[in-house]
């Protein structure tokens, strides 16, 4: 889902920056109240882990590969705001240091992957964990990445409506919702399995090795 700069209209990315900035400020205030001395280095470390997890291409049947996001993991281990800010940070560092993604697509990815993904993962886990924790973790990972993909597909798919040149050709991303939704959702149905497995395995690993974080919540 790494979209370079230039495909999103300013009519979309400027308002989304406004929404993101509000959410970043609110999230930062919430985190400042909540984080203790151990949690800040832990968030930073988990952000670095999330970054490297995004780089890893997991081979899938059929010769394709998938990149996971670790958003669900951050959301269920911490909360929505910690996950949203960490993922935003990863996306920002990825965009400005390594040229993956862009500065105009940052709010699209931050809201789609970071915020929507975290909200979906957090509430899926919260609802299903009363029944079966492992299923809840897997569902949180699978659903969060798929709903995020849907949100980004919608943003990309509305770009042809944002303006056309005199000869009728598009000015930004050229394909509509009928192309972007299946193009993003179909592979993510499979990628979600990788995300779900990663969420289960890593959460259980953290519960065993870093239990104090869970006790303090």
């Amino acid at each position: 889902m790494h979209i370079p700069d230039g495909f999103i209209s300013p009519k979309v990315y400027i308002p989304l920056y406004g929404i993101s900035a509000g959410l970043w400020a609110y999230g930062l205030r919430k985190i400042k109240k909540k984080l203790n001395e151990q949690a800040i280095p832990f968030v930073a470390s988990l952000t670095a882990f999330c970054f490297v997890a995004m780089m890893i291409a997991i081979p899938l049947p059929g010769g394709t590969t998938a990149h996971v996001t670790s958003v669900a993991l951050l959301a269920v281990v911490f909360d929505i705001w910690t996950a949203f800010l960490s993922v935003s940070l990863v996306l920002f560092i990825n965009a400005v240091l390594f040229g993956n993604g862009g500065i105009t697509t940052l709010p699209v990815n931050a809201l789609g992957i970071g915020f929507i993904g975290s909200v979906v993962a957090f509430y899926t886990f919260k609802t299903l964990s009363r029944w079966k924790k492992t299923v809840a973790l897997f569902a949180a990972g699978w659903l969060s990445i798929n709903i995020s993909a849907l949100a980004i597909a919608v943003v990309l798919g509305v770009q042809p409506l944002m303006g056309r040149s005199e000869d009728g050709s598009p000015l930004f991303f050229p394909f509509g919702l009928s192309v972007t939704i299946p193009a993003l959702i179909i592979p993510h149905l499979l990628i979600g399995i990788g995300e779900g497995i990663l969420t289960v395995v890593v959460y259980k690993f953290l519960e065993r090795t870093f239990s104090e974080i869970f006790h303090e919540r």
Binding site: A44, L46, T47, F49, L89, I93, L97, G99, P174, V202
Partner: protein, 183 residues
């Protein structure tokens, strides 16, 4: 202050470049950026090219195919989008080379705190990730099988997870011992 101003100019330039759809204007802007980049031109050009070539090729080829089938004009869009995307990416790398991002984003001390800690660990992790990739490459002659790749990835995830947990403990202790938490 200089870094914050640079970042503001960059933000304004991004809005201008994405709001004007004149090919000559964008081409002129790109030439100005090439001149300003000076001795770093080749380095920035190569970085920007490799950052966009994959995504842009897919979009350009798909759009070209659809337009040829439907009989729509395609040349203007393909030139416009590739020019704009390349210009914005080149400009991004140009700014990164000249601005200290940690200073530019120092409006929040907590955010700077997390950014510095995360940024430094990311750079270390990226280097280790590259070492892992080279290690795999040097140990296989043919393309590795899917099962071997899954084993390789599992080991790598476990390593990074352990390292993240240990790093966070070390950083916490280091910060506590230096009085960061006011104990």
């Amino acid at each position: 202050m200089k870094d914050k101003l640079f970042l503001l100019f960059y933000a304004a330039a991004v809005i201008v470049v994405t709001s004007y759809h004149n090919i000559m204007f964008l081409a002129g802007f790109l030439v100005v950026m090439f001149v300003l980049s000076g001795a770093q031109f080749l380095l920035l050009f190569r970085k920007a090219f490799f950052a966009v070539v994959f995504f842009n090729s897919i979009i350009s080829v798909s759009y070209l195919t659809v337009s040829l089938i439907q009989g729509h004009p395609w040349a203007q869009y393909i030139v416009l989008i590739n020019l704009r995307v390349f210009l914005l990416t080149f400009m991004g790398f140009f700014i990164i080379n000249r601005v200290n991002l940690f200073k530019a984003l120092s409006f929040s001390s907590t955010m700077t705190f997390i950014l510095v800690l995360a940024g430094s660990q990311i750079l270390t992790f990226k280097k280790i990730y590259d070492d892992f990739a080279f290690a795999l490459k040097s140990r296989v002659i043919k393309r590795a099988q899917t099962k071997d790749l899954h084993n390789y990835i599992s080991s790598m995830i476990c390593f990074f997870l352990n390292k993240s947990v240990n790093n966070s403990r070390e950083v916490t202790q280091a910060m506590r011992s230096r009085g960061f938490f006011g104990d």
